[in-house]
């Protein structure tokens, strides 16, 4: 228990670094996904924009939702939001704090995807190649083409091997131009996001520190309380099952003895633990009956009080070790 408590405290105290580690991993995963992805611009007038912008915007949205799905605290938040009021009031500030901290963590991977995409340049090149200003960048002498033909030619800029508009505008010139715009957008986006993160983090101590401390404490509390309750229920279930099964075996041995018209064999006082553990079932026939009965007719979920173990040398099914009395006055509080 002590070791468990130490690990628990360590995780809680280091929760920030733990969460930061997860964010870092998701960011790396996002970069890896992008480099593994085989970008294939369709090089057709109407499809380029849809494809390019789709690759730029749809995966971040998916990554954002994934960030929420993978976060264990989402269920805690929803449970706290939907529970009936009962005897305990609900604090919307706590819910807001939990939601904000989850949203901030979920935003990291999408922001990394968008930045990497813009800095790489392929998406913007694909999406906006038909909007290149060929009057300024292109060659002066070019055969005049209809708008549709022009768009078809320009749409093939990202696909160097099928590009046939060198007289109109050189392929490298157009790609360099588009990539320059894309990278400028990318760095501006990175700067904007960093500034936003900095402002969010640094304005908080200036304005809402007291409210923040409260929200943080109570959101930790809700999380811990849920974990402890689950733990307590698991311990209770264990004890319940143990007693239920014990009663089942004892019941079986009594039944079989009654059917055979002799009293159940009581373990002699000095027989020791192994004999006690046999629970009165000491022959093959009784054991087989017990096993068949367990399968065909499980006992009801109802423990009889006289049969509860009392001082027979076994460990009592405690849920927690008794709380040391030293903790009297230190910890209580009202909300």
């Amino acid at each position: 228990m002590d070791k468990f408590r130490m690990i628990f405290q360590f995780l809680q105290s280091n929760q920030e670094s733990f969460m930061n580690g997860i964010c870092g991993i998701m960011a790396l995963a996002s970069v890896q996904m992008y480099s593994a992805f085989d970008f294939n611009c369709p090089c057709l007038p109407r499809y380029n924009l849809a494809y390019g912008l789709g690759i730029l915007l749809v995966p971040p949205f998916i990554l954002f939702l994934l960030g929420f799905v993978l976060n264990n605290n989402v269920s805690v938040l929803v449970e706290e939001w939907r529970r009936p009021r009962g005897q305990r009031g609900k604090d919307p500030a706590v819910l807001r704090y939990m939601f904000c901290s989850m949203a901030q963590r979920a935003m990291i991977a999408p922001v990394v995807w968008v930045s990497v995409t813009l800095l790489d340049g392929k998406c913007i090149t694909c999406a906006f190649c038909t909007s290149v200003p060929f009057e300024t960048l292109g060659n002066a002498s070019h055969p005049s083409l209809s708008q549709r033909e022009m768009k078809k030619v320009l749409a093939r800029i990202p696909c160097k091997d099928i590009y046939d508009g060198q007289e109109l505008i050189a392929n490298e010139v157009a790609i360099r131009y588009l990539r320059c715009i894309s990278q400028a957008l990318g760095w501006c986006f990175v700067l904007l996001m960093t500034m936003l993160a900095f402002l969010v983090r640094s304005l908080r101590p200036c304005f809402t520190q007291a409210a923040f401390l409260k929200s943080r404490y109570w959101s930790h509390y809700i999380d811990i309380e849920r974990k402890l309750f689950d733990e307590t229920c698991a311990e209770h279930a264990r004890s319940f099952a143990k007693v239920c099964i014990q009663q089942f075996f004892e019941g079986m041995s009594t039944d079989v003895a009654a059917a055979c018209c002799h009293p159940p064999r009581k373990a002699p006082a000095d027989a020791g633990e192994p004999t006690e553990k046999l629970l009165g079932i000491t022959d093959q026939g009784t054991m087989n009956t017990a096993l068949k009965s367990w399968h065909r007719c499980k006992p009801p979920l109802h423990l009889h009080s006289p049969a509860l173990p009392s001082g027979n040398g076994e460990e009592q099914p405690y849920v927690h070790p008794p709380v040391p009395r030293k903790e009297i006055a230190a910890y209580y509080s009202r909300v």
Binding site: M6, F8, Q9, Q12, S13, R83, P84, G86, Q87, R88, L119, G121, L137, A170, E172, V173, R176, Y177, R179, C180, Q183, A184, W187, V190, L191, T194, R201, S202, C206, Q209, Y217, H220, I224, L228, F229, T232, C233, H236, F240, V243, H302, L303, H304, S305, P306, L308, S310, Q316, P317, Y318, V319, H320, P322, V323, I328, Y331, Y332, S333, R334, V335
Partner: protein
């Protein structure tokens, strides 16, 4: 308790090394980002300077802000600065010390980026190729100004059809790279000399004030960490008591409402055997439903008074 103390000592002694580690990681990340970044100069007269200088100066700002965000001490400093005075006075020297140490650490990654950029040379070649004096280079000497600008703008692009085998392009490129690297090395030298002087001359001025400021800034940092630890421990114990109280009140309620069997062998008070009260599927279901529909109030003062 002993282990608790050990962990605290670890935090105390290694708070600075943790921050130094983050600073080093950010510097490495900065170099890695530069090598992964695909620098492609637009090679157009109006865009070159903006692109070149942008790549040299915008990422350092982002890296500086990252350095501030990732450093835990910046939050501690801000809180100390903005807190109401209360019964504890504020020492501006401590806040100044924390601020300067945070800034120094945050400046490392941007400086690394700028130096790597200058030593590599691509940014400066891209930014200033149009500003070179064309008279110095044979290939660009006898052309019209507009054409000269166009040609000079294409110098950073080696694979451009006009520039592929142009020797003057290589000359301009080498010239600009030489300036860029000279600038890079000079900046590096100046910074190292400045750091060296600061470290050596600092003990000569105000050493006592410095020691005090460092001690109290460390103290503020640790105090905040311990406060957070204590809050976590407190909320754990609070939750523990609250749940026990809940189980006991369920037990009492069940005793009140059930007339089924008299409690033989009533357990002595003080035993925390939860099983005795809740021994039935319906009782367990009722407990779980009550936990959801009617959570107990956050008030365990009665429970504490009983002890």
């Amino acid at each position: 308790m002993d282990r608790f103390r050990m962990i605290f000592q670890y935090f105390q002694s290694n708070s600075e090394s943790v921050m130094n580690g983050i600073c080093g990681l950010l510097a490495l990340a900065s170099v890695k980002m530069y090598t992964c970044f695909d620098f492609s100069c637009p090679c157009l007269p109006q865009y070159n300077m903006a692109y070149g200088l942008g790549i040299m100066l915008v990422p350092p700002i982002a890296l500086f802000l990252c350095g501030l965000i990732l450093n835990r001490q910046s939050l501690v400093m801000l809180e100390e600065w903005r807190r109401p005075q209360g019964r504890r006075e504020k020492d501006l020297a401590v806040i100044r010390y924390m601020c300067s140490s945070i800034m120094q650490r945050a400046m490392v990654a941007p400086v690394v980026w700028i130096i790597v950029t200058l030593l590599d040379g691509k940014c400066l070649i891209c930014a200033f190729s149009c500003s070179v004096d064309p008279e110095k280079f044979v290939g660009f000497a006898n052309t019209s100004p507009v054409q000269v600008q166009q040609l000079l703008a294409k110098v950073p692009c080696k694979d451009d059809e006009l520039m592929r085998n142009n020797t003057s392009r290589k000359a301009v490129s080498r010239y600009l790279r030489c300036w860029s690297q000279a600038l890079g090395w000079s900046i590096l030298l100046i910074l190292i000399v400045a750091a060296f002087l600061t470290h050596w001359l600092r003990p000569c001025f105000n050493q006592a004030t410095l020691l005090q400021a460092r001690h109290w800034s460390n103290y503020i940092d640790i105090e905040q960490k311990i406060f957070e630890e204590t809050c976590c421990e407190h909320s754990r114990l609070f939750a523990h008591k609250c749940i026990l109280h809940f189980f006991e009140s369920m037990q009492r309620e069940i005793k009140l409402h059930s007339f089924s069997f008299p409690r033989e062998g009533e357990r002595a008070e003080g035993q925390e055997d939860l099983l005795q009260g809740i021994t039935d599927q319906d009782q367990v279901n009722k407990l779980l439903e009550t936990w959801y529909y009617d959570k107990p109030p956050l008030d365990i003062s009665q429970e504490i008074q009983k002890l």
